[in-house]
């Protein structure tokens, strides 16, 4: 199934839009009380792809990203307009199960935020929420997740060690492993490398390249080279609006919007 979609996308070629997107927003508006977060966002994101969101600070990248798993709900007084569909379900529908949604749509934050618990307990947190308590099953999930996040070799001998004893890069990969352990379909990353050194950043980027085979990844980044390196499609946000959304190569080489070009070439932002 996944392969099919990928093939189709490849056949469609230039266009970033695809026939059966996993995330699809239509005229989506987000308000922090009276101030607007993002407006009129209409974009479709393909399954098993990496989409980068770029744009100047305060333009609503995080707002949009956090709308996808409704993390913005924590802020009092927020409300939305329009449609945001994930995996065929309107997530701002009243009946939507937040727990399921968030297990479907994992998130990695700007600053590595492992719990002050052991590595094992960190990764096991999600599976335990899903009711997996059997030791063997947990062990399996944890090994898989840590292998998927390329951390297994480094920590396999001391899973009982506190997660806070890891380095920043390792912590971030642990957070990715933790998110992967709930077996999500989508992984949201909000500037996952901005608190990391170049070496750790490189490792995370390699990881993203591996993960895109199985997961849909949406990544917010300030680093243009990073967006160019890891993503297939790129969305450029400015002042709460989606200015341009296209294949990454097109955005960086031949943007159709003037603002995009200015931003890419560093003339504003």
């Amino acid at each position: 199934m996944k392969e099919n979609i990928r093939d189709k996308t490849a056949q469609n070629g230039e266009t970033a839009q695809c026939a059966c997107p996993i995330i699809s927003s239509k005229d989506f508006n987000f308000y922090y009380g009276t101030t607007m977060g993002v407006k009129n966002i209409t974009m479709n994101i393909n399954p098993c792809s990496v989409t980068a969101i770029i744009g100047p600070s305060g333009c609503g990248k995080s707002t949009f990203l956090r709308s996808i798993n409704r993390m913005n709900d924590l802020i009092p007084g927020v409300w939305t307009e329009g449609k945001l569909v994930v995996d065929g379900q309107d997530i701002y529908d009243k009946r939507v199960n937040l727990v399921n949604l968030r297990q479907q749509v994992g998130m990695v934050f700007q600053k590595p935020n492992p719990f002050p618990k052991s590595i094992f307990d960190n990764v096991a947190y999600g599976p335990r929420l899903q009711g997996i308590t059997q030791r063997t099953a947990l062990d399996e999930v944890i090994e898989q997740s840590l292998k998927a996040s390329a951390l297994w070799e480094e920590v396999k001998d001391n899973l009982r060690k506190s997660a806070l004893a890891l380095s920043g890069g390792q912590q971030q990969r642990l957070c990715i492993a933790r998110a992967l352990a709930t077996r999500p379909r989508v992984l949201l990353m909000d500037e996952p490398c901005s608190a990391l050194d170049p070496l750790a950043t490189g490792k995370i980027e390699d990881l993203i390249n591996q993960l895109k085979n199985d997961y849909t990844i949406v990544i917010v980044t300030h680093n243009m080279q990073q967006a160019a390196r890891v993503s297939e499609t790129t969305a450029f946000f400015c002042l709460g609006e989606l200015i341009e959304y296209d294949l990454t190569s097109k955005i960086f080489e031949n943007p159709s919007n003037k603002k995009t070009e200015d931003y890419i070439t560093g003339r504003f932002g």
Partner: protein
């Protein structure tokens, strides 16, 4: 600013800061030092043979034979005191002597009825003995030496009278003989005063050495042993050797105390030398020995804090404190969780917050009265429990007292948990409740423990809230939480207001206070160790 000035200001700041720390330490040492020193004397002191006897009798501690041998030695040294006083008293206790004379006379009358004498003979003997008795009585009561001698001479005339040979009436003549010997050297005019003061001396001696040999075992336990501690013995020795009197100076002026040596009060009698003897030989009589009485912390105090230790007080304090913590910690944490995680910032919540802050400043006696009115009189009967002060009511009152502290500390601790932890948990699909229980609470635990430490110290030391709700000064060890208990704080308060006892057992009052301080220190140490463990775990070491 010029660098020179900046350096100077820096230096001054360092010096001032250092000085203030030194001041603080000095104040602490000044407060705690004497307290520890005096309280320490409850445990480490010079114990007398009376102490060891008491330990043997009340707690079954010590080597019976050794103590018996020791007290025999002590009794040998003491014997002289009792014989001297006995002799001296023989000459001055008029009432006892008169009673004795009357008794002998009555006995003689009874004896006469059983003999085979004629009625006239009996009548005559009776009238003669009555005369003898009357003269004796007048001799005993009089303070005029000439009169006394005349009366005694009259009585002694009958010494060789064959009618009295081998009869009970001979006792009367014996009395006269004894008395004329006893009053030798006594100023008869002072007899009344001697009589009172020798009674005083005897009382002090009972406190110092225990009941005199041959007297009945006193009913009160506290009178059964002499001074158990050498420092108390020294104090009593002072009272024994110095006669205290309060002299009026004139109208409207305070009275002044005057001390005169007691030997001077008994000048010219055989008692005069007794005081020097006691002073010299007191160590032989009491055999003081350095004693380390660690059982002070576990022993019951049998007759109201006079002997023994503070075991039940420690137990009661611990029980109250721990029970209060069991009530206040869940309550405080849940309230704080609500205030932080759920409550929006509306008027009601603001009023609740203000109430909590106000509650923190309410005097503790108010909580005591509240506890009496609510828990003791209302809440307990509601569940069929007897409406009297008890551990349960007291600990609940203490819990209410410290609730504001607990809530505020927990609130701060919960607020201090990084938002990112909560976000991470929520992003993994956890509910808010689960996030709180699994992530926020564990991360907030060290801060909550800080609240526990603050509450603990407050609760363990409070007196007023337990005053009406469950503390007693004396009483049995509680069997359930529906019994009242003794506590260290209330015990020391009670002793402080019960002046006689406090004066008799100063070590106990300070001992209780120091025990309380040490207990709080121990509890806090445990909590602090726990907290640092948690901190370490949270920090990932």
């Amino acid at each position: 600013m010029r660098p020179g000035i900046r350096i100077a200001i820096d230096k001054i700041f360092t010096v001032v800061a250092g000085a203030s720390v030194v001041c603080l330490c000095l104040v602490l040492a000044g407060v705690l030092g004497p307290m520890l020193w005096r309280g320490g004397s409850a445990v480490a002191f010079k114990g007398t043979v009376e102490f060891r006897k008491m330990q043997l009798v009340l707690f079954g501690r010590g080597d019976e034979d050794k103590i018996a041998a020791e007290s025999r030695q002590a009794e040998i040294a003491r014997a002289k005191i009792y014989s001297t006083i006995e002799k001296f008293k023989g000459g001055i206790d008029s009432e006892a002597l008169i009673d004795k004379a009357k008794q002998i006379y009555r006995q003689f009358g009874n004896d006469l009825r059983q003999t085979d004498r004629t009625a006239e003979e009996v009548a005559e003997l009776r009238s003669v003995t009555r005369q003898i008795r009357d003269r004796l009585e007048s001799a005993f009561a009089s303070s005029n030496a000439a009169e006394v001698n005349e009366s005694l001479a009259y009585v002694l005339n009958f010494k060789d009278d064959p009618r009295f040979k081998n009869t009970s009436a001979a006792g009367l003549i014996g009395l006269a003989e004894q008395y004329s010997k006893d009053i030798h050297g006594i100023n008869l005019a002072e007899r009344q005063r001697y009589y009172q003061e020798i009674r005083q001396v005897e009382d002090i001696l009972t406190e110092l050495l225990g009941p005199a040999p041959g007297t009945a075992t006193p009913a009160l336990m506290m009178n059964r042993f002499g001074a158990t501690r050498w420092d108390l013995a020294q104090k009593l020795l002072g009272q024994l050797c110095w006669y205290e009197e309060w002299i009026k100076q004139g109208p409207g002026q305070p009275m002044v105390k005057r001390l005169t040596p007691r030997s001077q009060r008994f000048a010219g009698t055989e008692i005069e030398g007794l005081f020097i003897y006691i002073q010299k030989n007191l160590p032989e009589m009491l055999k003081p020995k350095p004693t380390f009485y660690w059982q002070y912390f576990i022993d019951d105090s049998t007759p109201g804090h006079y002997f023994g230790g503070v075991g039940p007080e420690i137990l009661g304090t611990l029980l109250l404190t721990i029970l209060a913590m069991l009530f206040v910690v869940p309550f405080g944490v849940i309230s704080a969780a609500y205030l932080v995680e759920c409550a929006s910032d509306n008027l009601v919540i603001r009023i609740i917050r203000m109430s909590i802050n106000t509650l923190a400043g309410v005097p503790s006696i108010v909580f005591g009265l509240f506890g009496l009115a609510f828990f003791v009189l209302f809440f307990l009967p509601l569940f069929g429990a007897p409406s009297k002060g008890c551990i349960l009511a007291a600990s609940m009152t203490l819990a209410v007292l410290t609730l504001p502290v607990m809530i505020r500390a927990s609130e701060e601790a919960i607020r201090a948990v990084p938002q990112t932890y909560k976000e991470a948990s929520l992003a993994l699909g956890a509910s808010r409740f689960r996030t709180f229980v699994k992530v926020t609470l564990p991360a907030a635990l060290p801060g909550i423990l800080t609240g526990v430490i603050l509450s603990l110290s407050r609760v363990a030391g409070e007196t007023a809230p337990v005053l009406f709700t469950g503390a007693v000064a004396l009483g049995p060890v509680p069997k359930s939480i529906f019994d009242p208990t003794r506590t260290l704080s209330y015990g020391s308060y009670d002793m402080a207001v019960g002046d006689k006892l406090a004066a008799m057992v100063p070590h106990n009052q300070f001992g209780m206070v120091v025990t309380l301080v040490l207990l709080i220190l121990c509890l806090n140490t445990v909590a602090i160790i726990l907290r640092s463990r948690m901190f370490k775990k949270l920090a990932g070491h």
